[in-house]
């Protein structure tokens, strides 16, 4: 199976691993009953996490599109491809750093934008990072072995791609952890 299909399969698996435990946890909680026409208010942290998640996801997908469209060899041989993809990924990390700096400023201030539930959600948010990175590494391992088994060698550009995918998955999992936290309580 092509490598890209393994990556898609890993994303589907990771989504399922995230989605079903959340649904299970939600089913154990009493339903939220709001007056008709009223929706759940969004907290400042929730809004910031959503915006950051969308920005990071779009930049990551753009970088992935550059690599997939140009091919892995181009990453190694063409500076323009490498610089464009790396630039997009660094931009995503800068967006995440801005998010973290604002969250730390909120955390340091008592009685600010965060209340105790927000803080508890933030503390629990990184729980998904480890499993998400393991799924990513497993997808790379299985995908690379299955697609390059006959040649017994892989392109060294994959080392960079594995590193970057783990970094971005870790960032996305942290942000998703915050959003999932609001659905679990």
């Amino acid at each position: 199976m092509a490598l890209i299909l393994w990556i898609i399969a890993a994303f589907v698996f990771a989504f399922g691993a995230f989605y079903f435990p959340v649904r299970w946890a939600q089913r154990r909680l009493p339903p939220i009953a709001l007056p008709p026409g009223e929706s759940m208010p969004v907290t400042a942290l929730q809004r910031l996490a959503w915006r950051t998640l969308i920005a990071v996801l779009l930049l990551t997908l753009a970088a992935a599109a550059v690599v997939v469209y140009s091919g892995v060899e181009a990453w190694w041989e063409k500076d323009a491809v490498r610089l464009t993809a790396t630039g997009l990924l660094i931009a995503a990390l800068i967006v995440f750093a801005l998010y973290m700096s604002r969250v730390w400023r909120w955390m340091a201030r008592d009685g600010g934008a965060l209340d105790e539930r927000d803080r508890a959600i933030l503390v629990a948010a990184p729980a998904g990072q480890g499993p998400a990175m393991l799924v990513t590494l497993a997808a790379w391992m299985i995908g690379l072995v299955e697609t390059h088994q006959s040649t017994h060698m892989i392109h060294s550009a994959f080392l960079y791609l594995i590193f970057w995918s783990c970094v971005m998955v870790s960032v996305l999992a942290q942000l998703a952890g915050v959003l999932v936290g609001y659905r679990r309580s």
Partner: protein, 71 residues
């Protein structure tokens, strides 16, 4: 160990206190309106600190609002 839940009467107390809005209570207790909503729906158990702040907002005691219910 038997499962226990914490029940609360925040919603009733809000209406008994001049139909206090969730936002007003959130401002007085120093939390978000979303936290008041999930507290009223008993999806979230507050810390002692928040419980005391809510009790103070209503001018009552913590045990008048929160009760332990053992299954």
């Amino acid at each position: 160990m038997p499962k226990a839940t914490i029940r609360n009467s925040i919603r009733r107390l809000r209406f008994e206190h001049g139909e206090m809005t969730q936002q007003e209570l959130a401002d007085r207790a120093g939390c978000t309106r979303q936290t008041i909503i999930v507290l009223e729906q008993e999806r979230y158990v507050p810390s002692l600190l928040l419980a005391f702040k809510i009790a103070k907002a209503f001018g009552t005691t913590v045990d008048a609002i929160f009760t332990l219910q053992e299954a």
